[in-house]
């Protein structure tokens, strides 16, 4: 700052010594803001700019005639200063803290000039100037008058600019620290000079590990989008610097310490100073998009998954969007997977945009359009089997419709083969049913029509014997008796066959059966026969099982009866019945000899001391009408054991025989103790009585 008061020739460098008038005249002429104060602080003279700037309007034509711009001459009125007329500095300016008053007093007392930078100068009107100031004492040569010279340089504009700049800077700092984006400032050497909090968080490092490092520092370990290392020249901020152009939307990965890489979305803006071509810095803003990226990856993964599901699905899948403003008018195909193309024999391009009605027209039984509407309205899925029999489309489809956001997803499964199989099965069943009916008819025939003539043969031969017995000799009578015996045996055969066929057709439901009681009853029934042959029947402890009581009784009757019948001529028959309950072995179930659902089985053993038979016949004896002995030796139709086996099989069990000729036979019957349900009694049919 120029100091107009420095007087090189003066003895004292600090105090201006002159006549007040001379000083005043000098002050008035100065172009800068200069004022002369007396010791009381009154402004006794001032420069024109000072007056214009600081004096109130009313004092304008004050002691200093500055308006005309005339240089104050020797006779200038300014010289004739009357101090009383001049305003006090402290009237002109507010000085609430007495800052100015103390300053001025100090300078006056110490007679040492002082200067300082921007300091507010507030007028009573409220206007504040910011000034650089210099205060220098003056005194007259005789020392009678003293005062101060006050020089101001107006810095108001500069000060305002500065404070605005500061505000902006502050705002900027706040902004930068508030935003969630990371902000970095890289200088023209590639060194980071500043960073905000978000940058520290995203990069996972404190400020001192960021600021001061170069962008290509190892620690950053940049990654390309595909996960390969990012070469230095590709760093977006470096590119912005080198290319002198903003880089926007670059995506790169960075490694926070000891953590998986984070993905950032980077904008880098080169900063230029004045007209220089090379940027002095690059401002880098970046956003953490790791989560977004992960979500996107997950989304992409699920998209890929969905896509592979769609393309590999064996079901045709078609997505329809509902068309229509308020009411659903129709459905338009949005998407069709390869299987749908195959099933509908159309390409995807042809299908997309196509209406449901055209693709899958209404059939006699099913209106898919109406079904789709209902699905959209209720949200309930729809399922149906639909037959298409047009020239273009000849198939059975299982159709499933589910509601989706603004339409439906329709799944098609070709069930033509299944339908064909079901049809074939139904046909086979019908055939089987016819056969069964024929079998039942046979049973009926056996019980009535075959019996009728036999009955007649017996009745009429009876009549002949009765009415014409005298006319026939003994041989004739014998023949007639043989005839009657034959007829009776045939009748018995037919009856046994009927019993055999009725095992399934006349089956009773399974119920709890006490084998002990049943065996006891059978023994009572056979009482006469036992007595006849002088035999014994021993019954051990027998369990209670779930079975058809009539049929179980039949088994016991046949087996015990067998034991009584096939006894050695000189040895009275002895039949023993015992049973155990044991876990059902798996191998028997696998062989199909025992019901798969059976967990516990009853092993019923009937042993006799009879004639026995060769082991090789062990299976034959269970075949209908198979006999091991001539009728002359032992009575019977050969149906008893066949009936036993059929009953045991119906119960999901097994029967077998072990025998040694001449020593006796042991029959082993395996029967499930309990049943899961009676439903798996598949062999039983509900048939009207024959």
């Amino acid at each position: 700052m120029n100091d107009p008061f420095v007087h090189p020739s003066s003895g004292s460098p600090t105090t201006l010594v002159d006549t007040p008038a001379t000083v005043a005249r000098f002050v008035s002429a100065m172009p800068s803001l200069l004022a002369m104060l007396n010791a009381e602080g009154d402004v006794v003279a001032c420069s024109e700019p000072w007056a214009r700037r600081f004096l109130p309007e009313g004092k304008d034509q004050g002691p200093i005639p500055l308006e005309d711009g005339a240089s104050p001459g020797d006779d200038a009125p300014a010289v004739s200063v009357s101090l009383e007329d001049f305003p006090s500095f402290f009237d002109l300016f507010e000085d609430p803290d007495d800052t100015w008053r103390e300053l001025l007093a100090t300078v006056l007392r110490e007679q040492t000039p002082r200067r300082g930078d921007v300091r507010p100068l507030t007028q009573p009107t409220g206007t504040t100037y910011w000034v650089d100031w210099a205060v220098r004492p003056w005194r007259s040569e005789d020392g009678s008058a003293r005062g101060l010279l006050l020089s101001f340089t107006d810095q108001t504009d500069h000060h305002q600019a500065e404070s605005i700049r500061r505000q902006v800077e502050q705002r900027f700092d706040i902004l930068v620290d508030t935003v969630s984006e990371g902000v970095l400032l890289m200088d023209n050497n590639g060194i980071f000079r500043d960073c905000n909090t978000a940058a520290q968080e995203i990069l996972g490092r404190p400020v001192d590990e960021i600021v001061g490092t170069r962008f290509d520092d190892e620690r950053w370990n940049g990654l390309r989008k595909d996960g390969t290392p990012l070469p230095n020249v590709e760093f977006p901020f470096w590119r912005a610097f080198v290319e002198r152009e903003a880089v926007e939307g670059a995506v790169m990965g960075v490694y926070p310490p000891d953590a998986p890489p984070r993905w950032i979305h980077v904008n880098a803006q080169p900063l230029f100073q004045d007209d220089r071509e090379e940027p002095y810095a690059v401002l880098v803003c970046f956003e953490d998009i790791t989560d977004k990226q992960l979500k996107e990856e997950a989304l992409q993964t699920s998209r890929d998954l969905l896509s592979s599901v769609l393309s590999s699905s064996l079901d045709g899948i078609i997505v329809f969007t509902a068309v229509g403003d308020e009411e659903v008018e129709g459905f338009e195909c949005l998407l069709a997977n390869p299987q749908a193309e195959k099933l509908l024999k159309e390409t995807c391009d042809d299908l997309v945009g196509c209406r449901l009605r055209d693709m899958l027209p209404e059939t006699e039984d099913t209106d898919l359009l109406a079904a789709c509407r209902t699905v959209v309205e209720t949200g309930e899925p729809f399922e149906a089997e639909v037959r298409y029999a047009s020239q273009a489309l000849d198939a059975w489809f299982q159709v499933m419709i589910v509601s989706i956001e603004d339409g439906v997803a329709l799944t098609l499964r070709d069930i033509s083969e299944r339908k064909e199989a079901a049809r074939a099965m139904a046909a086979a069943n019908a055939k089987l049913e016819r056969r069964n009916r024929a079998l039942r008819d046979f049973a009926y025939i056996a019980s009535h029509d075959l019996q009728e003539p036999l009955r007649k043969i017996r009745a009429f031969s009876n009549l002949v014997l009765e009415d014409y017995g005298d006319a026939v000799d003994d041989t004739g009578q014998h023949y007639l008796e043989r005839m009657q015996d034959a007829a009776e045996r045939m009748s018995q055969l037919i009856n046994d066959l009927l019993v055999y066929s009725r095992i399934t057709t006349r089956a009773q439901p399974f119920e709890s059966v006490d084998l002990g009681t049943i065996a006891e009853n059978v023994r009572n029934d056979l009482d006469l026969r036992i007595e006849d042959v002088n035999g014994t029947v021993e019954i051990g402890d027998l369990p209670t099982i779930e079975a058809d009581p009539t049929q179980v009784r039949q088994i016991l009757q046949n087996l015990i009866g067998n034991g009584l019948k096939f006894h050695k001529p000189d040895v009275p028959p002895r039949v023993r019945i015992s049973a155990t309950v044991e876990p059902a072995p798996d191998d028997l179930k696998q062989d199909g000899r025992l019901d798969a659902a059976c967990s516990e089985m009853c092993r019923l053993i009937v042993t006799d001391n009879g004639i026995g038979f060769e082991e090789s016949h062990a299976d034959r004896i269970f075949t209908p009408f198979k006999r091991l002995h001539g009728r002359g030796e032992y009575e019977g139709t050969g149906m008893g054991l066949a009936i036993c086996r059929r009953i045991v099989e119906r119960h999901g069990g097994d029967i077998s025989a072990d025998s040694t000729p001449g020593e006796g036979t042991t029959f082993t019957v395996l029967l499930p103790v309990a049943r899961e349900d009676t439903a798996h009694d598949a062999s039983s049919e509900s048939v009207p009585d024959e």
């Binding site: 017996r458 009549l463 009765e466 009585d689």
Partner: protein
């Protein structure tokens, strides 16, 4: 009952052998009776209603007992039984089903239709003769039947 004290038995049976056997069995029994046989349900109904060849009451005396076979051509025994038992004029005549059937269903159905007795034909002739004898004794000696309409006065 007829005035001469003999009873009239009407047999509906399609099998000539059985008709013969039954007739023979009846003859063998000590029951004084008249015997008429018809061959099927339709003929039976014509007889009972005195229609067609039976329009002359002399040819079709009201039976004191009907022996009915179940399985016959044209109208079978079940249908005939239903008609007899739903006819107010005829339903009081005792009807005995005499059949080879032992089927529960036949027995049940016959009683449901109002049969008075169900008898399975014995296999031998002697058995049949015994059965017919027992039936006659039961129905004509033991059982008290409602008076016949035409003898009411």
């Amino acid at each position: 009952m007829s005035g001469d004290g003999s009873i009239h038995i009407l047999l509906a049976e399609d099998d000539p052998d059985d008709r013969l056997l039954t007739r023979r069995a009846l003859a063998k029994s000590r029951i004084a009776s008249e015997f008429t046989a018809v061959e099927n349900g339709e003929e039976l109904m014509r007889y009972l209603r005195r229609e067609g060849e039976y329009s002359d009451p002399e040819n079709a005396p009201r039976p004191g007992l009907i022996l009915l076979d179940l399985n016959m051509p044209r109208m079978d025994g079940r249908e005939a039984l239903r008609e007899i038992k739903s006819d107010p004029e005829l339903r009081r005549i005792p009807v005995v089903v005499l059949t080879t059937s032992e089927a529960d269903q036949d027995i049940r159905q016959s009683y449901d239709l109002g049969v008075n007795a169900f008898v399975t034909k014995p296999v031998t002739f002697d058995g049949l003769a015994d059965a017919v004898q027992a039936l006659g004794e039961f129905w004509f000696d033991l059982v008290k039947l409602p008076p016949e309409p035409d003898t009411k006065e």
